[in-house]
């Protein structure tokens, strides 16, 4: 465990760690482009130069092992000169693209030039020109002039995605980042390279030119597109989501996430969303008010009594699932509730791998299982609902799983059964085959429009904060379920997620004694007992900054 001093401050690090690690441990900021804590060291940008006593030349802190008694200076005049020089060289051929470059506002080159140099240009010769706006693959556009050849993208793909598509070709200042001719970068983790890119060389085609990052606000969330439940940041402005980035969480996904999770937000903004309730009339489905819709729902469920059933979805939050189960089992007195598990059907998605992607494309299968079990609902609850429907025993059904028909193995059977149910209400985001057969369609808020928790496949419970208000007249699940209860002549259900969570913890034993505070931003497992209560120090600077994901690591 070598002990050394950095800028006069003593620090001890593990054997094998570098001077950079030592400085970071002390909270000392060393600028860098090519270094990334999760990637193998390259040492080519030369920006992290530091002065070490007894070494004749400046040395790169990311490649220099920390040794006992080392004396390191990170802010000496020699170091500052070195930093200014490296930045000058980086900029002599850098194109004047800031006004059209997506990276502006979260650009390492901009930020580090400003903080560590701010020396005016001395370059009056013609800059080296390289191709721009290159289609690197389905998700990424490349600008070779902006590229600083840090090779973070190359290293990431090689190590984490086992993909050798990217590489640097040519010598000297003719070097470019590229793919093999005719073999584009088509990897499910490709967009991580855009996060990693310290400049605007790699840009996401999805996000390109959509929004300047300093307008974006952050909402901490989780990805709901597989049970890995990567921690995310949803970036939005004025009610529209523009981008999803990974949020660093050592317990879950590190600083990475897959492209699916990043891009699936698009439907939330889409025009095709169900924005207001619909009711079936003779001529077909028509838009209506919540009042009318609820009157129909209420009438049906009052009449149905215990011949009511519900189908939830493993995409719902723990709180919504708890409220759902409570509504049917307790409030309506029907044990006919359940959900269709992922493995019961075929759901499309990227194949599971040894990195992040899981086979179960739902975020909360485990939560659903545990909650329904706690409410005494049998494991095969959905099947019971199906059989009851087939037997003509169902008078009212509430479906909160819009993908039901895609999920089940026997679509025809379900369709026949649903036709026999007297009253079917479907809560959904999208119009589809299922909603078209409903008597009432209720617009449901998406995962980004509600607050709640989800349980990962390994039992880790994570919180998701609301990013944008529900579109149109959509209601979040808690609100919707409460309205159903009231319409059915029963008492309203709690609307606030945290309150529901408290009730949930009391009833569902495997949630232990978790609280929202204990879950915090990194999630917690129920077994963690008295979960470490992290006091959050409000960092005025961080909170006030406009845009720029908290998830960005240097």
């Amino acid at each position: 465990m070598p002990k050394l001093t950095v800028d006069g401050r003593p620090v001890e690090v593990e054997a094998g760690q570098t001077v950079m690690n030592a400085a970071e441990k002390l909270g000392i900021e060393i600028p860098r482009f090519c270094y990334h804590s999760k990637l193998p060291v390259a040492g080519n940008c030369r920006m992290c130069l530091v002065e070490v006593e007894k070494m004749p030349k400046l040395t790169t802190s990311c490649t220099t092992p920390a040794t006992e008694g080392m004396v390191v200076l990170t802010k000496s005049p020699k170091v500052k000169e070195g930093q200014k020089a490296v930045l000058e060289y980086l900029l002599i051929n850098h194109p004047l693209d800031c006004p059209v470059c997506d990276k502006a506002g979260e650009c390492d080159l901009q930020d580090q030039y400003f903080a560590f140099s701010s020396t005016p240009s001395r370059m009056i010769d013609q800059k080296v020109h390289k191709p721009k706006r290159i289609e690197l693959g389905p998700t990424i556009k490349l600008d070779q002039e902006r590229c600083v050849l840090c090779t973070r993208c190359v290293r990431f793909l090689e190590v984490y995605a086992h993909d050798h598509s990217l590489g640097t070709v040519n010598r000297g200042d003719r070097a470019i980042l590229t793919v093999f001719p005719g073999r584009p970068l088509d990897n499910i983790y490709s967009l991580n390279t855009v996060d990693l890119c310290p400049v605007g060389a790699l840009t996401s085609k999805d996000f390109r030119f959509k929004k300047r990052v300093w307008f974006l606000k952050n909402a901490d969330s989780v990805c709901t597109f597989c049970s890995n439940q990567c921690s995310t940041v949803v970036q939005h402005d004025e009610g529209t989501i523009y981008r999803i980035l990974p949020r660093e969480n050592e317990k879950v996904n590190g600083p990475w996430m897959c492209d699916t999770g990043r891009l699936e937000y698009r439907f939330i903004n889409a025009e095709e969303r169900v924005k207001c309730p619909m009711v079936r009339r003779d001529e077909g489905q028509e838009r209506t008010t919540w009042r009318e819709a609820m009157e129909a729902v209420g009438a049906a469920f009052k009449a149905a009594g215990s011949r009511a059933a519900g189908l939830a979805s493993p995409r719902m939050t723990n709180e919504s699932l708890f409220a759902f189960a409570k509504l049917f089992v307790e409030t309506l007195g029907s044990k006919l509730a359940g959900f269709v598990k992922a493995d019961a059907g075929l759901v499309e998605g990227a194949p599971a791998d040894d990195f992040l992607i899981k086979a179960d494309k739902n975020p909360n299968t485990r939560g659903a299982e545990e909650i329904f079990a706690a409410w005494g609902v049998e494991v095969d609850g959905a099947r019971s609902v199906l059989e009851a429907a087939e037997g003509g025993k169902l008078a009212a059904l509430l479906v909160m799983d819009q993908a039901l028909l895609e999920r089940v193995p026997n679509r025809e059977r379900w369709l026949k059964a649903l036709a026999k149910v007297k009253f079917v209400a479907v809560a959904s985001l999208a119009e589809n085959e299922l909603t078209r057969l409903a008597h009432v369609v209720l617009p449901l808020a998406s995962w980004a429009e509600e607050e709640g928790t989800y349980t990962r496949f390994d039992g880790l419970v994570q919180r998701s904060w609301r990013a944008v208000p529900p579109r149109g007249e959509a209601k979040d699940a808690l609100g919707l379920l409460s309205q159903v209860a009231v319409a059915a002549g029963k008492q309203a259900l709690p609307l606030v997620a945290e309150a529901v969570f408290k009730a949930l913890v009391a009833k569902v034993r495997c949630f232990g004694s978790l609280t929202y505070a204990a879950i915090g931003k990194q999630g917690a497992k129920a077994g963690s007992g008295a979960a470490t209560h992290k006091v959050e120090i409000v960092n005025l600077a961080k909170d006030k900054g406009a845009g720029g994901a908290e998830a960005r690591t240097w």
Binding site: V86, D125, H164
Partner: protein
């Protein structure tokens, strides 16, 4: 000077390429000689270029498939190494060297003649497909400058008339033949390495053995303990002749005795320092002396696998070395159970493909492993983590060639041949404006004045001495005031320059130092590997600023800018190519500042004296 974009090739014509069976067999044989498939990429690409004439994207994919590596790995090499053609060359690919010594010898006139005669510029091809033209960097033939390479053959001592004649001859169906000039010009009292170079032709195994060849290697293996060999070499004070001058014995001593990973010797035969042309001679004319040195070294350090990394342009040298290897293997001097001693040593010839930076020891190792020759961060040093992860010695050809004689005559003898702490002789490569440029094997302590005025016959046309690069173009220049300096490592370092590779480039009053500086900068710009920021961007910037001086469009502030741009690179990079670019330029600006100031106003300079 790169006129074609290597990542923007010509389109492939015709059906998808297929290797001949013999090519596939050759590639598979090569795979057995390396621990990884990737290391076979460069050799496989040479085979592909032989078969298809050039490397298209389709050929790259084919090579990747046959070698068994991701296509990007092949692309990176093709983009990096300039010998691989990205568009079909002419029947005769004319490569005109326009590096310093050749320019001092009138290469520009030769180039202009070629352009005029063929009607094309560098990077172009005649419409009848007969000739393509390239400007290339130093071909290691500086003593017989100007030099042109046509396909694989060297045509030396050229003049504009000479090249015109050659082109006409080839156009009329004449046969292409290599035409070398006189390389070895002089020796001191006791020639060591150049002992075999006195006679014509190539010293084969039989001839070498007649001189006592391989006796020392046999003696070492049969009677000496490896540590004793190392000790002996340490005592001899032999310092590396590749450029750095690091004590060879000490370097060998860094290799751990025990190692989980195999140990390797990489012979640095990638002679690329402008002004240097001695290793080429040893490789072509007396390869066995080097091979014996290899055996001795490997015995001393406990190495069983050696690679001779030879410069891609040395086609004749490669043939010569391969022949020598075959002879040595047949004579059981290499391979398994050498001379019945139980000592195994496999030596493989590995060709580079056109990159000066592969002469840097870790650049060489990277290239050997089948990657672009981008130098590694040190530490770890090759002695600990080198080729394929194992402890590696990298030694220059000439350095190894001294070993047989040192073992034969003893370390003290070797010390006596040179000056204190700078033992032995070295082969000085003198080029530029001297009467008799060429190779001179002399004791290390020979004064520069003696070298030029006694051995080389003085200045060409009795012109006045202006400046010289004592150790290749990477060395700071010396002026008239320095003529009495001794040409050894320590003396030259004390004089603010370096002995380097022994390439002495002499410049007389007829040349313009601003032009010289610009050409020097251009070389490093071309050769920078591009890995780290200061060198990648700085070498290009340096050339651009110097170009403005050359064109006389520079401003007063540019003098300081030039110095800053050069100094800013130094000491901040992964390897010393940046320093090699900066230091000579800085020394020229410092010692010839007036010429730069003069170039601030319109006018004409002497240029290259042509």
């Amino acid at each position: 000077m790169e006129t074609t974009r290597r990542s923007d090739p010509a389109p492939h014509q015709g059906p998808p390429p297929e290797f001949s069976r013999s090519a596939v067999e050759e590639i598979n044989r090569l795979k057995l000689r390396y621990p990884t498939n990737r290391a076979v990429i460069l050799p496989a690409l040479h085979i592909a270029q032989r078969e298809f004439g050039w490397i298209s994207d389709e050929v790259m994919a084919l090579v990747a498939d046959v070698v068994g590596v991701p296509p990007m790995d092949v692309f990176r090499c093709v983009g990096f190494y300039t010998m691989y053609h990205r568009r079909p060359p002419g029947k005769y690919d004319v490569q005109v060297c326009t590096n310093i010594s050749c320019c001092l010898g009138g290469a520009r006139k030769v180039l202009r003649k070629v352009e005029e005669k063929l009607g094309i510029k560098s990077g172009g091809k005649t419409t009848d497909g007969m000739f393509s033209l390239q400007e290339v960097e130093c071909l290691a033939s500086c003593g017989t400058a100007p030099v042109v390479r046509v396909n694989d053959d060297f045509i030396e001592d050229l003049t504009p008339d000479g090249i015109e004649e050659l082109l006409e001859d080839l156009a009329n169906g004449g046969e292409l033949r290599e035409k070398q000039g006189i390389h070895l010009r002089g020796q001191g009292a006791e020639p060591v390495v150049s002992k075999d170079l006195m006679s014509e032709g190539i010293r084969g195994l039989e001839g070498y053995r007649k001189l006592g060849g391989y006796q020392q290697a046999e003696r070492a293996i049969k009677t000496m303990q490896p540590p004793d060999v190392i000790e002996l070499v340490k005592k001899s004070g032999l310092r590396g002749r590749g450029g750095a001058g690091f004590p060879a014995g000490m370097k060998w001593g860094f290799i751990p005795k025990e190692s989980a990973k195999p140990k390797y010797l990489c012979v640095n035969a990638d002679e690329g320092e402008p002004g240097t042309f001695k290793d080429r001679e040893i490789l072509e004319r007396t390869p066995h002396r080097m091979l014996e040195g290899i055996v001795i070294c490997c015995w001393a350090v406990g190495i069983h696998t050696a690679y001779i990394y030879i410069r891609g342009e040395f086609a004749k040298g490669a043939v010569s070395v391969q022949k020598a290897l075959d002879e040595a293997y047949r004579a059981n001097l290499l391979g398994r159970n050498i001379l019945g001693t139980g000592f195994n040593l496999e030596v493989t010839l590995h060709q580079g493909a056109g990159a000066y930076i592969c002469g840097e020891e870790t650049g060489l190792i990277e290239s050997l492993e089948g990657k672009p020759g981008q130098p590694r961060i040190k530490p770890p040093f090759p002695a600990i983590v080198g080729a394929f992860g194992g402890p590696t010695v990298v030694n220059n050809v000439e350095t190894l060639a001294f070993l047989p004689a040192i073992l034969e005559k003893g370390p003290e003898w070797f010390v006596g041949l040179g000056s204190p702490k700078n033992s032995g002789t070295r082969i000085f490569c003198v080029s530029g404006h001297v009467a008799r440029p060429g190779l001179y094997e002399l004791g290390m302590g020979v004064p520069l004045r003696t070298l030029i005025y006694e051995h080389c016959g003085g200045m060409k046309n009795a012109n006045k001495f202006k400046a010289c690069f004592p150790g290749g173009s990477s060395s700071p220049v010396l002026t008239e005031a320095d003529l009495d300096v001794r040409m050894d490592f320590d003396s030259l370092a004390a004089a603010g320059s370096m002995a380097g590779s022994g390439g002495v480039i002499v410049v007389d009053e007829s040349a313009c130092m601003v032009c010289v500086a610009e050409r020097v900068a251009g070389f490093y710009h071309h050769e920078s590997c591009g890995q780290c920021t200061p060198c990648r961007e700085g070498t290009g910037w340096l050339e651009k600023i110097l170009h403005r001086f050359e064109e006389r469009t520079a401003h007063k502030e540019d003098l300081e800018l030039l110095v800053n741009a050069a100094e800013g690179m130094m000491g901040r990079t992964i390897c010393v190519l940046a320093d090699a670019a900066a230091m000579p330029v800085l020394s020229i600006v410092k010692k010839f500042r007036k010429e730069f100031e003069e170039h601030l106003s319109p006018g004409k300079c002497e240029g290259w004296g042509d």
